[in-house]
């Protein structure tokens, strides 16, 4: 690094800087601080603790399952109870534990790895956390009240439809899980923008720590995989509540539509869970082997191709639904193909071990546990991809065993390794009590005993999701062994949690960078302070701490960028996406209770329909909009600051005075998810049209000329208005006429959408009508959003928040308007064209 040598700096500078920054970034130390903090350390820790609690709950449910299956003809549970228990076990583990747990880890670690001070949207992170806590708790409380869903974690209709699952169990699932998916999308957007824009100076994409790559890929996958599932939940919930027949064959629906939407999500989900764990291994293993990752570029390529491939494979979960033969062959071959990128990763890691000098230690031990387990899981997975074999074991305990080899071996073990590896960083302590080794040797062998027995039982024909079995079916011994071993495993997991908890609070203080890692997260103080880095590091390679062992000192003395706290606000650096050059200075928002409040009303709007409290839900929705506007209003400024001194002679503009502030980037990715959601709706429409029995409908919607003209003019006005507004603001002219034009345009589009609904009253008649209503509903929702945003923009302009420099907000509104126009026209065309040509 080209920094002044440490000796020439006055002593005490680091301490003064630390005190100044600590004051600026501190969260409220009182209890209420937990509700107002948006600092990534606080949010991440809370996230981690809650996710771990859900793991414990899911584990208790697993023990109940194994207790029931330990003996034949068990009277411990009735089938109704068993069905609730395994459904909740799967749901809790997949949605409430696995995904939030890695989100928590990335919130805690990403800013450090990237060399920045916090996540891109701290308040959004806090919001995601609270929505998750409320949604997850609601699901658990419902279970304790005996109202749990009981249709299995993939909730196939018609079994989950109102006719066969009366009561609110299925609604709890649909609404609770959807709210958690909303929270996951919020976090994913935050992660993406952080990785792309918030990094150390000079950290180009190819210098990023490998975990950042993995988590970037995973977050993009979340944005593309969750929307189909959200759509599926929406369709099913609407069917249950209002009887719109999306999955009812008699009225033009098709239960297979659910399976497609579910597995469009469910298959990538497996990789969404596995890839963060793989990223942890790729981070930890080279350090433990005292070397660098072998084939960094190939590992990145493998992660990307795994993500791409995983979206082509959902059909392999539907091999037994009567897919045409050619389809079967294609998907079968493609499914085995995912083994290639996976094996590239595995062998890159083994090659890394080979290249270096490994030392054992607890993180490494768990990684060895991962290898032994995951390789078996991968092999049984390849077996399952072979169609004839799949036909034989599909829906037996063989599948249960495979899935646990992959999920526990491929996710839980590496995550435990990660916890132990990062414990010195997160808590500032080194392990003192050595319970962890004992726990390891309890868990891994008993895991294999449990699930090898379960594999065998599956091969012998034991069906999954059956609540008991007869003594003469020959599965008694295997199940007893599996159950006993699973109790030992549970004790092992409990010891692990205990070990981590005890060591987090009472172990001895540790020193910085105990493993000798080369990446930036180890260059800050330990445990990581709220502000992360005293100054933004300057890096010239992939392993900056190896390039410059004194880096930590330089950073602490404020010798990087922004090493000067005199502006007394939370600043961090934005860099160019590809090359990592400093571009902007961004001011992050301070503590606020708004995210918590917004989460309260969001969750209310999701959960109130459970009790048929539709008015409450509607009011909550209004409150959501109102609070969101208050939230947004508090950001930005009324005067142009011009360029500010970022250190090293760099004068950089504030992000709020740029054309692409973080909010713009966030909107782009939110709209990506929104677009996928819309695309899934079109897919569903086309699917029902071509595959569902009882199509085509009796009659088509006939487009009316006036509505078409209104729609086209509206689209034109909504395209032109925001553009003219941006131009007017940029020139310092009056923007309100252009904004008014946009508002009129969005209202016109909304009217056209309403005409679709008015022309086809009775969405409950046929899936065709129901789909038209959803298409029109999509347009309606987005036009209303656009109109609200445009009004907001007008108010901002009037209040002096916009200027030729502070033009980012207008650009964001334009982005939303463009999306509304594009999808609106497609939706209306999809609604009108069949009638026009029929």
């Amino acid at each position: 690094m080209t920094l002044p040598s440490p000796a020439s700096q006055p002593r005490g500078k680091a301490l003064r800087l630390h005190l100044a920054l600590a004051r600026i970034w501190a969260s409220d130390q009182r209890i209420r601080g937990w509700f107002t903090s948006s600092n990534n350390n606080d949010i991440g820790s809370l996230f981690l603790i809650v996710a771990t609690s859900f793991f414990v709950i899911g584990g208790i449910l697993a023990m109940l399952i194994r207790a029931q299956l330990a003996t034949p003809d068990s009277a411990f549970m009735e089938p109704q109870v068993y069905n609730q228990i395994f459904t909740m076990h799967g749901t809790v583990m997949m949605f409430l534990f696995a995904i939030p747990f890695f989100e928590a880890m990335s919130m805690l670690l990403l800013p450090g790895m990237l060399g920045t001070r916090d996540m891109a949207f701290p308040r959004l992170g806090a919001y995601g956390l609270w929505v998750y806590i409320f949604g997850g708790s609601a699901v658990i409380i419902a279970m304790l009240m005996g109202l749990a869903p009981d249709g299995g974690w993939f909730m196939y209709p018609p079994l989950s439809s109102a006719a066969f699952s009366p009561g609110i169990g299925a609604d709890v699932w649909l609404l609770g899980i959807t709210s958690i998916e909303v929270s996951a999308i919020a976090t994913a957007i935050e992660v993406i923008v952080t990785v792309l824009r918030y990094r150390a100076a000079g950290m180009s994409l190819s210098r990023m720590p490998i975990f950042a790559w993995y988590i970037l890929v995973v977050s993009v996958m979340i944005l593309t995989a969750f929307p189909p599932m959200i759509l599926g939940s929406l369709l099913l919930e609407v069917e249950r509540a209002l009887n719109w027949p999306f999955f009812q064959v008699e009225n033009g629906g098709d239960p297979l539509l659910w399976q497609h939407l579910f597995w469009l999500f469910g298959h990538p989900e497996v990789y969404i869970i596995f890839l963060p764990a793989a990223g942890m291994i790729a981070t930890i293993l080279p350090v433990m082997a005292r070397t660098n990752l072998l084939g960094y570029g190939w590992v990145v390529a493998a992660a990307v191709s795994l993500a791409v491939l995983s979206f082509g494979l959902w059909v392999h979960h539907m091999f037994t639904t009567g897919i045409p033969h050619m389809g079967l062959a294609f998907f079968s071959a493609a499914s085995t193909l995912v083994a290639v990128p996976t094996s590239v990763m595995i062998f890159s890691w083994i090659g890394t071990l080979w290249k270096g000098r490994a030392r054992m230690g607890l993180p490494m031990l768990w990684i060895m546990g991962f290898f032994a387990t995951f390789v078996i899981g991968g092999l049984t997975g390849v077996m399952l991809a072979v169609v004839p074999f799949n036909w034989q074991v599909h829906d037996t305990h063989f599948v249960v065993a495979h899935l646990h080899y992959v999920l526990i071996g491929g996710y839980v073990f590496p995550m435990i390794a990660a916890i132990y590896y990062f414990m010195p960083l997160l808590t500032g302590r080194t392990r003192f009590f050595k319970l962890g080794e004992v726990a390891f040797w309890l868990v891994v062998p008993s895991f294999h005993i449990t699930f090898l027995s379960v594999h065998m039982a599956g091969l012998l024909g034991q069906r999954r999701r059956t609540w008991t079995y007869d003594a003469d079916q020959g599965w008694t011994a295997l199940n007893l062994v599996a159950s006993i071993a699973s109790f030992v495993m549970a004790i092992g997991f409990a010891l692990t949690i205990l070990d981590v908890a005890v060591n987090a609070f009472v172990a001895v203080r540790g020193r910085r960078n105990p493993w000798g890692a080369g990446t930036l997260e180890w260059a800050g103080a330990i445990p990581s302070p709220a502000y992360g880095f005293a100054s933004i590091p300057i890096v010239q390679g992939r392993y900056p701490l190896h390039d410059d062992p004194d880096l930590a000192l330089h950073i602490a003395r404020g010798e990087g960028y922004l090493g000067d706290a005199s502006r007394i606000r939370r600043e961090t650096l934005i860099v160019s996406t590809a090359r990592g050059e400093p571009l902007q200075v961004v001011v992050l928002p301070g503590n606020s209770v708004l995210p918590f409040l917004l989460a309260v009303v969001t969750s209310t709007s999701f959960l109130a329909p459970l009790f048929d409290a539709y008015i409450v839900a509607g009011l909550a929705l209004v409150a959501v909009v109102a609070l969101a506007l208050v939230w947004a209003w508090g950001l930005g400024g009324r005067v142009d600051e011009g360029h500010v001194d970022a250190g090293h002679g760099a004068m950089l503009p504030l992000a709020s005075e740029c054309r692409d502030p973080p909010g713009w980037w966030g909107s782009v990715f939110l709209l990506l998810a929104d677009g996928v959601h819309f695309g899934s709706l079109l897919f569903g429409y086309a699917f029902l049209w071509t595959v569902a029995p009882n199509w085509p409908p009796h009659s088509y919607l006939q487009p009316q000329l006036w509505a078409v003209i209104v729609a086209l003019t509206g689209a034109l006005a909504l395209t032109a208005g925001p553009r003219l507004a941006v131009r007017a603001i940029a020139k310092g002219g009056t923007a309100w006429p252009a904004i008014t034009l946009g508002i009129v345009g969005s209202l016109a589009l909304a009217i056209a959408a309403a005409s679709v609904m008015l022309d086809r009253p009775g969405p409950a008649r046929h899936a065709y009508d129901a789909t038209l209503w959803l298409l029109a509903g999509h347009v309606g929702l987005h036009t209303i959003l656009s109109a609200i945003m445009l009004c907001y923009l007008a108010a901002r302009v009037a209040a002096g928040y916009a200027s030729p420099a502070r033009i980012g907000e207008a650009g964001i509104v334009k982005l939303w308007a463009d999306f509304t126009v594009a999808t609106g026209l497609v939706a209306l065309a999809a609604a009108w064209l069949p009638g026009a040509f029929a």
Binding site: P158, F347, D395
Partner: protein
């Protein structure tokens, strides 16, 4: 397939152990180039491609044999699932019906037309063929063939709620004579 899988597993584990417990390597750096060639290309890409190609070919070959094909002596029956029972229908106009027992002729290919009247179920006779789903509104055709007369156990293999475990049936494979009797008695 199992032996192959075991072999691969032990191969990978042996590599890891060799990497861990081998004498320290003097030249740690500078080996990235050759390392990439061996580990990434050879083992990471080449190895699974070869194994998978073999496996997929094998799978497709077996799968081909399971396909319903034209056969002169083909018998078609209908299997209708509901919570938690099976009804089977036979004959030209589906006039014969049995509950819980599927009658088929032994030694002849049989097409089972599978459907459901309520939720999704799955038709599975482990000793005769793989499983195929019974989906309301759809008819899936499964080819089965029992080589010898006798009784075969069958069950649903898609979770269907409370009575799922008891949702089973049996298959009776008849020799030519008793199959003729069955059809004759049924049509009366």
């Amino acid at each position: 397939m199992l032996t192959c899988a075991l072999a691969i597993f032990f191969f990978v584990m042996a590599l890891i152990f060799a990497a861990l417990y081998r004498p320290p390597n003097p030249s740690v750096c500078g080996r990235n180039e050759s390392g990439t060639r061996v580990w990434i290309w050879g083992l990471g890409v080449g190895f699974p491609l070869v194994t998978l190609a073999a496996l997929t070919a094998y799978g497709l070959f077996i799968g081909e044999r399971l396909l319903p094909r034209e056969a002169p002596d083909l018998v078609t029956v209908q299997a209708q699932a509901r919570q938690w029972a099976w009804t089977f229908r036979y004959g030209e106009d589906r006039a014969i019906a049995t509950d819980g027992v599927l009658h088929i002729p032994a030694g002849r290919p049989v097409n089972v037309e599978i459907t459901s009247t309520d939720v999704i179920h799955s038709f599975w006779v482990p000793r005769l063929a793989g499983k195929l789903d019974a989906i309301p509104g759809h008819v899936n055709v499964l080819r089965i063939e029992a080589a010898l007369p006798g009784t075969y156990g069958g069950q649903s293999a898609e979770f269907s709620g409370r009575g799922y475990r008891e949702h089973v049936f049996t298959v009776e494979a008849h020799d030519a004579a008793s199959w003729a009797t069955f059809l004759a008695e049924g049509t009366q």
